[in-house]
């Protein structure tokens, strides 16, 4: 009884310290005490983000061998490499919470952890590469800039690095589209078609509407989420509309109009049934994305094992040499 009470008091003191730290906009670091719920929620958030970066290599990776010029190919290759890098920063941040990367990878390929549902849509033309940079990476930037101030130190620091690099991603996409728009009618039609297909899924990237997002309040109190889904979605629409105008494409929303009173662009409602279906696994590419990730992981096993065997052999050789001396 007594021991239990002492422990409770200790936890209360730690909890108070934790809350004070967050209230003062200071960061929680890995070795600090934190509530189980905070740790769990963060592991889920960071892992899901890491998985999204890794799976996100696939839709654009499909165009690496078919890029229309060496310049575009080099840019696309650099971009896809960045996504791999972002995944690694984030797995590294997740591991500071006491989970293991291999465990997270396993959960991804077993379908037990999710990734952003945007990557379950196919890339049908090279204009998709441009639109993904412009809209999908644009939405990601909207989401991620506030997360640079996440209360969890390693996640915030990873986000700072990622945001710097995302800016290149968005700009290369927009430039690609500008280039296509200055081309033939067929090329302009490609851009419009890609915009039509990616616009609504991009709006869904911010997650369900606020009144259907039960975890938002707690995550915002913990400051691991800094703005609500609807706030971010509105910010993204307000940013994107002038960009679409400058580009000369039409956004596929008949309700889209400037709301003078609100000072925002009014937009229509995304198809949330489609969103739920795709999140639940029934999108155009869900099965393919996971299958390819699983194949890459399993077919790469021999490389990991060979490297480990080589390292062990070298270490043994080194030890023997050291002993002989």
């Amino acid at each position: 009884m007594r021991g239990g009470m002492v422990q409770t008091q200790q936890t209360d003191a730690r909890q108070a310290h934790f809350e004070r730290t967050i209230e003062h906009e200071q960061r929680i670091e890995p070795a600090d005490w934190m509530p189980d719920g905070y740790r769990k929620t963060l592991v889920r958030q960071v892992a899901q983000h890491a998985h999204s970066e890794i799976i996100g290599m696939q839709p654009e990776g499909d165009w690496l061998t078919r890029a229309p010029s060496l310049r575009r190919k080099a840019i696309l290759l650099a971009k896809v490499q960045d996504e791999a890098g972002h995944g690694l920063y984030l797995y590294s941040a997740a591991e500071t919470l006491g989970v293991d990367r291999s465990e997270l990878t396993q959960k991804l390929i077993d379908g037990k952890q999710k990734y952003s549902s945007i990557f379950n849509y196919p890339t049908l033309s090279f204009a998709d590469v441009g639109v993904i940079g412009w809209l999908v990476d644009g939405a990601a930037i909207c989401n991620q800039v506030p997360l640079c101030r996440s209360s969890f130190g390693p996640y915030g620091r990873a986000m700072v690095r990622i945001c710097k690099e995302e800016s290149f991603h968005q700009r290369q996409g927009y430039e690609l589209l500008l280039h296509l728009m200055s081309g033939t009618d067929a090329q302009r039609a490609m851009v419009q078609d890609a915009t039509d297909r990616w616009w609504w899924p991009s709006l869904m990237m911010f997650g369900p509407p606020d009144d259907e997002s039960p975890n938002t309040a707690q995550s915002m109190a913990w400051r691991i989420k800094r703005d609500t889904n609807d706030t971010l979605r509105q910010r993204f629409v307000d940013m994107s509309v002038p960009q679409a105008q400058a580009l000369g494409v039409t956004l596929p929303d008949s309700e889209l109009r400037w709301d003078e009173a609100a000072g925002h662009w009014h937009f229509g409602t995304p198809d949330w049934d489609e969103f739920k279906r795709v999140v639940a696994g029934d999108g155009p590419c869900n099965e393919e994305r996971i299958r390819r990730r699983r194949e890459a992981h399993e077919e790469g096993a021999w490389v990991r094992e060979a490297a480990a065997a080589y390292a062990a052999k070298q270490a043994a050789k080194h030890a023997a040499k050291h002993a002989a001396r």
Binding site: A31, T96, S102, A307
Partner: protein, 97 residues
């Protein structure tokens, strides 16, 4: 940790951004050995000229202070205000000191 990728240990990565600056911790990664850790560190953490020098060290070779003991561990420095220049009152007309 040993379960990872057929037993690849974790390394911490430190990067010197340019001459005149310290190496700073930037994150961690997994690698089979020291050399691979250096190559991975270059590829993951310095794709845009972020560094001119990298250190990698196995995470399990780092000894760290305990955050729960922070108060007592750093206590010897907390109560010595006289170590700071502002502790001393110097007349204004002496000028900058």
């Amino acid at each position: 940790m040993e379960a990872e990728a057929g037993g690849w240990p974790m390394y911490e990565v430190f990067v010197r951004a340019k001459r005149g600056l310290n190496h700073v911790h930037v994150g961690s990664l997994h690698a089979a050995d020291d050399e691979m850790a250096l190559h991975h560190a270059r590829d993951v953490y310095t794709r845009r000229n972020e560094g001119i020098s990298i250190w990698v060290v196995r995470s399990d070779h780092i000894t760290a202070s305990d955050p729960n003991e922070r108060a007592s561990f750093f206590e010897p420095s907390a109560d010595k205000a006289f170590r700071h220049p502002t502790f001393y009152e110097i007349p204004d007309d002496v000028g900058h000191m």
